[in-house]
């Protein structure tokens, strides 16, 4: 098992005929992902790579192919419309890679999605991958992953690859890796993903990678303390970032000092997470935590 994506995922790609969309669709297919359709308005009727049918609308694509997940590569100015179109067509999992979507567009999209069964991952994210099911719905390099029992959830892209490659180097495979996205407003939070890992029998422990700004890590810490029964290994980056540069001035009123890396690490440590002492020690820390779990000293292990 894994979460969100697996062998049964029937993927549709919005923006499949674009440069990035085409490149990454190809990589996903090589990895083993079952891409059943592409959507590019105006290009309906053609074939991608001589085998994937392209449609003018998501609705049509779903009707013809039973697609149940969508991966979005549409340019920022049109991406919020693409998300809404996917939700309207009944797609249950939408991963939006696009970066640079205006914040107020996302406010509307997220307000609308609340009333639908659709789950959005991102935007501005690398997507998600379940190595055991050979299903890659995103832009991450597939070959750094190995199947296993560690869940990974992160706000960033390349730092997630860094974490995964350290895990793989230690022989620790992954159940599912989810990049929730680096924007202030995203469809799924750490807590949303942790809840899924909690229910997933195949996931034994979770690596959570956070960064400065906002309070998503604290919300995760609260949830971990209250309900999460699996070991968590965490790293928060941005300790060396000057305060106030990324968070706007008034933004600091809401979060107070909570947006700082130390505050986030402290909240997670208090919730029982093992904090990696440096970005170079994510894999080692995970290995230690799992070893102690086996010997019976782990958290509720």
């Amino acid at each position: 098992m894994s979460i969100l994506v697996d062998k049964n995922t029937r993927l549709l790609v919005q923006g499949i005929t674009g440069r990035e969309g085409g490149f990454h669709s190809q990589r996903c297919m090589e990895y083993g992902t079952n891409i059943v359709a592409g959507v590019t308005p105006g290009r309906g009727g053609s074939l991608f790579q001589e085998r994937v049918p392209v449609f003018n609308s998501v609705e049509q694509a779903v009707k013809e192919t039973d697609a149940n997940a969508s991966l979005i590569f549409v340019p920022a100015a049109f991406a919020s419309d693409a998300i809404l179109e996917a939700a309207d067509a009944g797609i249950s999992l939408i991963a939006c890679i696009t970066e640079g979507i205006p914040v107020l567009d996302m406010v509307k999209v997220l307000r609308h999605l609340k009333g639908t069964p659709a789950r959005l991952i991102g935007p501005n994210c690398p997507g998600l991958i379940s190595p055991g099911g050979r299903c890659k719905v995103g832009i991450m390099p597939g070959d750094i992953h190995i199947p296993g029992r560690i869940g990974v959830v992160s706000r960033s892209g390349t730092l997630t690859y860094e974490a995964v490659s350290q895990l793989t180097h230690e022989g620790l495979g992954q159940s599912t890796c989810v990049g929730i996205g680096g924007d202030p407003l995203v469809g799924s939070s750490f807590v949303d993903i942790l809840k899924l890992f909690q229910e997933d029998d195949e996931t034994e422990a979770v690596v959570l990678i956070g960064e400065i700004g906002g309070t998503k890590e604290q919300e995760a810490a609260e949830y971990i303390k209250r309900e999460f029964t699996k070991p968590v290994i965490s790293l928060i980056v941005g300790q060396s970032a000057p305060p106030g540069r990324r968070m706007g001035h008034a933004g600091a009123i809401i979060t107070g000092t909570a947006g700082r890396a130390e505050e986030k690490s402290r909240a997670l440590a208090e919730a029982g997470a093992a904090i990696a002492p440096s970005p170079a020690e994510i894999g080692i820390t995970a290995k230690k935590v799992l070893a102690s779990k086996v010997s019976g000293r782990g958290k509720r292990g």
Binding site: E20, F23, H24, A76, A77, G100, I101, P102, V103, L104, D105, V107, K108, L110, R111, P126, I139, P141, I144, S154, R155, S156, G157, T158, L159, T160, Y161, E162, S165, Q166, G182, P184, L185, I209, E211, I212, G214, T215, K216, E219, V237, G238, Q239, S240, A241, P242, G244, R245, G248, H249, A250, G251, A252, I253, I254, G256, S278, P279, A280, E281
Partner: protein
């Protein structure tokens, strides 16, 4: 994107939010004329993209047009150093000359996006005119937060909640509700990331007036706001940051001496943290972005080389979409075009086409220390400090 106070006030006026009478001046003579028109007794305010102007000596109430001219002359062309600017300060090229007001009460009002409630939130306080962070720290009870439903906009009950919450008289319910509602419309129409009025004053004769204003805009939405782009003043920003923005490179200048070049914001911060752990200070944050090509890498590397403070360089590329060989070629090209590199370079490369990337670097004229992971990178930086 940030704009000046006088520009923000013009936009507020367009949205029917009352501001003091006044105008911007770029010469002492202009300041004199505006002051004369306003009756002599005015406030002269330096226009810079930074807070803390009052304490830094950039704002003064004067009693005559002549005095306005003299004070303006003493500000223009100088660098104003506030607690937000760093020791080098920012240059003053314009002043705002405004009528002086008789103030009864100073309030705080802002609208911003709250990532927890996933929408806009109004922040207000009866303790205006001071730094809101300090109010939040000392008396959090004085800060009101009201979430706005994007479908509904600002509702009358929310106007009442804010008015009574700030301890204002019932007569002000209507003016406060209108003003907040107008500010919200501005916020949405202009794709703001922050719309702040501090202080919002109640005058002795009972009127509301935006005495100071700050508008920041969502950079990602500028494509649909040509009118806002025209307001940009790059003299207020670090020249290297302006140069980086031209190529869509995320770059923030810092005070250390280790130039960092990384792909991805999270990994860039991790690299800076690693640098700090090794006992050194990063000279910058630099994310070349997801789909960087050889030319963009080359531009990014040139920006780092142009910073005279940089004494060593740490490059960390995790190849995904960006291939390591492409990154390596960009680095070599930039070094050639800049006439070589005199400082030590540590390179960590991983992921797609890493072999080719490392080969390009080691067979070039550049002296690079190639490392395999972040741990080794930290050691190499430590060694370079000696």
């Amino acid at each position: 994107m940030k704009i000046h106070e006088y520009q923000a006030k013009k936009i507020l006026s367009e949205f029917k939010i009352p501001v003091p009478k006044g105008d911007a001046a770029s010469t002492p003579q202009e300041a004199r004329e505006i002051a004369q028109r306003l009756g002599g007794g005015v406030v002269v305010k330096a226009q810079v993209h930074a807070g803390g102007r009052g304490k830094a000596g950039g704002v003064r109430v004067v009693s005559s047009a002549e005095e306005a001219k003299q004070f303006t002359a003493s500000l223009l062309g100088k660098n104003l150093v506030t607690f937000q600017t760093g020791p080098q300060g920012v240059s003053v090229r314009q002043v705002l000359v405004e009528e002086a007001m008789d103030i009864e009460k100073e309030l705080y009002l802002a609208i911003l996006i709250d990532s927890q409630s996933l929408g806009p939130v109004i922040v207000a306080s009866e303790a205006g005119g001071m730094e809101i962070e300090q109010v939040a720290a000392r008396s959090p009870g004085k800060i009101l937060q009201v979430q706005v439903d994007p479908v509904l906009g600002v509702q009358p009950f929310q106007g009442r909640k804010l008015t009574y919450g700030m301890g204002l008289k019932p007569e002000l319910v209507r003016p406060i509700t209108d003003l907040v509602s107008n500010l919200y419309q501005l916020f949405v129409a202009k794709d703001c990331s922050l719309a702040e009025i501090n202080p919002l004053v109640v005058t002795k004769d009972g009127r509301l007036l935006a005495l100071d204003a700050k508008l920041n805009f969502d950079d990602d939405a500028l494509f649909r706001h040509g009118e806002l782009r025209e307001l940009q003043d790059t003299s207020q920003e670090d020249p290297l940051e302006v140069e980086a923005a031209k190529y869509d490179i995320q770059y923030i200048k810092l005070d250390g001496d280790v130039g960092c070049m990384v792909n991805g914001a999270g990994l860039a911060m991790a690299t800076m943290d690693t640098t700090k752990k090794a006992g050194a200070e990063p000279a910058n944050f630099l994310d070349v972005g997801g789909g960087a090509d050889e030319q963009k890498i080359s531009q990014a590397f040139k920006i780092i080389l142009s910073d005279p403070k940089v004494k060593r360089i740490l490059i960390n590329i995790f190849g995904g979409i960006l291939r390591c060989d492409v990154a390596a070629r960009g680095i070599v090209t930039a070094a050639q075009e800049m006439g070589g590199v005199k400082v030590p370079i540590v390179v960590r490369m991983s992921g797609t086409n890493v072999k080719e990337g490392r080969e390009i670097l080691s067979s070039s004229a550049l002296k690079v220390t190639l490392v395999n992971d972040l741990g080794e990178a930290a050691k190499a930086i430590k060694t370079s400090i000696g």
